[in-house]
Amino acid sequence: MTNALEIKNLRKVYDNKFEALKGIDLEVKKGDFFALLGPNGAGKSTTIGIICSLVKKTSGEVRIFGHSIDDDFATAKKYIGVVPQEFNFSNFEKLFQIVSNQAGYYGLNRKLAQERTEKYLRLLGLWDKRDEPARMLSGGMKRRLMIARALVHEPQLLILDEPTAGVDIELRRSMWDFLTKINEAGTTIILTTHYLEEAESLCRNIAIIDQGKLVKNTDMKSLLSTLNSETFVLDLGAEIAPDFSLGDFTVKRRDAHTLEVMVDKTRGINEVFRALDERGIDILSMRNKSNRLEELFVGLTGQGAKNGAAQ
């Protein structure tokens, strides 16, 4: 089966001599929901920029559904819909014009362009705003506008660069549902995100880029299975002393009623419950300290929340 995306030994050196990509190899299968992660400045946006022709590669090969961007970029571009990180539409144009013009740039005739524009503005809840200039929209609506514009020519590969940055939780969830549906309908999706929970919830495969190199490229299940331990936060029904300990578990007392416990995969959580029960301490509730992917991400890149890459 043809891959949606094939990247071989991709390098990019900017004019200021900064080497953003140091030879990346990547394959994304048709129909996949793929996460491309990495700290700020790792090379994610450069990679996406090269795929959709906004950045010129220094060397290497990129194929979209088998079409090389060197030999047949026009055909390759037809397969791609891109939702960039920054807003990139005219603030003065009306929504309907922005989306239908984009359809025109892909060669869709006016009637079809208008039908598709209506379809995607409705799907993304923007139909009522169709005659308003884009500057009148909220931040979340602007993101949805860019998704509608990227989908209007019904691409087989949708690339989203930080699609939910700055979007409230409710809207983020509705965007996740939307993206899941179009992926189930057959569209391959590549997503970069700072919200690792987003990648963990949505994506089946993942690549992690750090300092222009690919440090991990695997499926999400295998990656998460490499975690040796997890940290749980327990809300307790009784007070615990400042020097509280729990057998040979590694614990950290957050406050008198909250305890963090690191649990090795080989042991299981029941041992913790039993140990606390023996001391007559009830557990009122329990949650993961952080999402699991975040812990892996920090381990692989040596970075994380400190630079805002894993929030």
């Binding site: 539409f89 003065f92 025109g104 740039y105």
Partner: protein, 257 residues
Amino acid sequence: MNAQEKWIAFITLVRKEIQRFLRIWPQTLVPPAITMSLYFVIFGQLIGSRIGQMGGYTYMEFVVPGLVMMAVVTNSYANVVSSFYGAKFQRFIEELLVSPTPNYIILWGYIIGGVSRGLLVGLLVTLLSLFFTKLQVTNLFVTVSIVLMTSILFSLAGFINAVFANSFDDISIIPVFVLTPLTYLGGVFYSVDLLPDFWASVSHINPMLYIVNAFRYGILGVSDVDVRIAFAMVTLFTIVGFSYCLHLLNNGTRLRQ
């Protein structure tokens, strides 16, 4: 893209460009109409009536073709430079760059946008001039072809300016410091025959002189220069300008990192 898809992309871009300058008509259509009307009143009527004949015509008749051409030149240029730089500044030029639309279609789309505004303003100014003088076209072919080629040429010039501009200051420097002086010194308001020999010779290296005079020849049938040279010059500059603009787009200069 097949030919039909390319045509759709082209028409889409042209429609968008025309809608843009029509949407902001108080900025694009009204100012040149007011400015040129003032020129007609002040230079044509008030001062012109004391100047007498120039090139065998009343001063008003002489100055109208030059002013129409000045409007065409400045508006073709201004349309492309502001539209393309605006698209770069707000980054919606990426809408075109990520699409399969070929670069030459993108370039023609902006050119036709500039030509449309140049011709529309030229037509408005011509209609306004009819309040002040009678106009007749001596050579329709020369009139139409020179105005069309000039608007293409200055649309290309505006495109080059927009590609290299890094700020809104940069898109006004060339019109103010290059285009306006060349136009004013290009025989819009006077015949170069009135100048001392030295300055008349210097005027002949100003391309605007040829453009203005070719258009004046089309309208009045008189010119300070050989009209064939004007056509050759505009054709050459247009071909070179188009090739250079296409090279800039293909190379992604200031557009693709």
